[in-house]
């Protein structure tokens, strides 16, 4: 798939209220959310958001409720108008599109999956799945073919003629996913898509999404409040608080180098063994490589620990993409990396002078 499907969010501001534009400069100059609300009765939704969403990857936007993440994702297909800023896709600023272009953009370039599914209750599963392509003006026959194919892919074979409220939540969201995929858009927007599902179903859906992404390579923007979900899915993660991005990077970056207390607190309970890859913590090879077990650089610490303990060794060789030895890890280093570094926590909590 094309490499120009990245999305560039530049200096995005959203101030809710009748005269939002008036206060952009004040917020830029440092007015806080509380001040803005108390003095002018306007609510700061987003503050100077700059994110480069990579093409064909999963960008997770994480934050607790009220952090502005749902507001943010709605700027990408302009369900919400920004107060200031740009959303650039394929060289075009979505915020400057006229109505007709915006409709075309929404129909052909984006598809969205919603937290509360938002299926059309009066249409069958099939009717829901083909809604997006129907709006594109594709012939009924082709609509149905494409919808059936994607319904089958998400495991809804044989449910085409059911109505949404005959299905469980997990199945309804599969319909939501099929509806978005049938659209064949480059951008997939997922607004807390799996948050309403129970944990096992959620894991299931995450796996479906990852499997699909492996062959589809869409630009996916995934909103969640669940750090485990973010780390599992996200190629890149941006953390939002009070409408501001407070850290962005890969999952490992965030777990290993939390930007502040808030994030450190967040990542404290994360299963680091699954998030951190051996490639990140390996050291140069010292000593003989022969006779020691080997690992891929993308393997997790958990896998490394398992390997070392089953082989009864305390050292393993890390292989790069080309299969050559790139470095080594020791059992001790693996264990060190797995436990939350107390020292680094302290370092963070005491601001440098």
């Amino acid at each position: 798939m094309a490499d120009n499907n990245g999305i560039e969010l530049r200096g995005l501001f959203k101030i809710f209220g009748p005269h939002g534009k008036k206060y952009v400069q004040a917020v830029r100059d440092g007015m806080t959310k509380e001040e803005l609300n108390a003095r002018h009765g306007h609510v700061l939704g987003l503050k100077d958001i700059n994110i480069s969403i990579p093409a064909s990857k999963i960008q997770v936007i994480m934050g607790l409720s009220g952090s502005g993440k749902s507001t943010l994702i709605r700027h990408i297909n302009r369900l919400i108008e920004p107060t200031a800023g740009e959303v650039i896709f394929q060289g075009q600023d979505i915020c400057k599109m006229n109505k007709a272009d915006l409709l075309r953009f929404r129909r052909h370039k984006t598809a969205m999956v919603f937290q509360k599914f938002a299926l059309l209750p009066h249409r069958t599963v099939l009717g829901n799945a083909l809604y997006g392509v129907e709006l594109q003006g594709v012939s009924r026959k082709e609509c149905e073919e494409r919808a059936r194919r994607w319904l089958a892919r998400v495991g809804l074979d044989g449910f085409e003629d059911h109505y949404p409220n005959q299905l469980s939540g997990g199945m309804q969201q599969r319909v939501g996913l099929a509806r978005a995929l049938t659209n064949n858009a480059d951008i997939l927007l997922m607004d807390e898509a799996f948050s309403a599902l129970d944990p096992l179903i959620r894991m299931d859906m995450q796996k479906i999404l990852l499997d699909l992404q492996e062959e589809l390579h869409k630009t996916i923007v995934f909103i969640t409040h669940d750090l485990d979900e973010a780390l599992r899915l996200g190629d890149r993660i941006a953390i939002l608080r009070d409408g501001e991005v407070i850290q962005q990077g890969t999952g490992q970056d965030i777990v290993l180098h939390p930007a502040d207390d808030y994030i450190a607190d967040f990542v404290k309970d994360v299963n680091r063994a699954r998030v951190i890859k051996v490639g990140t913590i390996m050291s140069p090879v010292s000593g003989p490589a022969n006779g020691f077990p080997t690992l891929d650089a993308q393997a997790s610490l958990e896998q490394a620990a398992r390997l070392l303990s089953t082989k009864g060794k305390d050292r393993a060789i890390v292989l790069g993409n080309d299969g050559a030895a790139e470095g080594q890890i020791t059992l001790r280093r693996v264990i060190d990396a797995m436990v939350t570094p107390v020292a680094s926590e302290k370092e963070v909590s005491q601001p440098e002078t």
């Binding site: 075309r104 919603f114 209750p121 249409r123 069958t124 129907e134 709006l135 409220n165």
Partner: protein, 295 residues
Amino acid sequence: MDFLGAFPQMGRTELRDLKKGIDEAFRHFSRTHGQAIEDFFHPLLKFLVWFEKLLLATPWPLMIAIIAALVWLGSRSIKMTIGSILTFLLIGYLGMWKDTMSTLALISVATFLCILIGIPLGILMARSDRIQAIVTPILDIMQTIPSFVYLIPVLMLLGIGKVPGLIAVCVYAIPPVVRLTNLGIRLVDRDVLEAADAFGASPRQKLLSVQLPLALPNIFAGINQTIMMALGMVVIASMIGVPGLGVPVLKAVNNQYLALGMMNGLAIVAIAILFDRVSQKFGKRLQKHSETIHG
């Protein structure tokens, strides 16, 4: 003291002149524009007369068969179909066939008109808060003003006849369908609307593929109420020369004919119940998607 005792009312002559002035002005208006307005409604009159003649010219067995078929199509209930056949046989046997057909024609045309005007008006109201703010009080007036009062200007403009009767019925019966169309569209789940927006539905596509289908149960309740209210106006409409079941009722009231009044009154009730049940069943069948809910 005198000031508090009697309400400081307008002088008698001034008040009389004011009323006279309004009357004169309206009379002048109806004299100059009456013909044009009558011409405007002429196609409606022709349609109503044609439809009434059609119902009356249709042989009664065929008519009953058609009614039974419609009831079956609407309700899919054997009981109701047989009930409708028996009702109309009894109505015919008791000598009310002709009047019943006239009433059916009037009610059908009135309902059709109300739907034709009411649903688009309801849609407009749902789309704009300003239109809603303007139309709602007008609907309130239409529903509460005594029908005799608005019969006066209609009579002055169009005289006695079928069209003024039809207009009177429509004025009285249209508010429910307008209100419930508006309400139904406004009640559509915002999440679903947002989804339609996200997939690039134009306002028109949103209306046709999401708002109207999801508002349908409410719209149907509105149509049902409109039919009921139209039937309720049959007797009053007969006062201004609309033929039908209302005429004998009016005669019965004037002459204290108990049996005549009861029979024709009950015939109106029978038609009302039939219309009501069939339209309700039909409305329910349209939403079979909400029948089974995942437990």
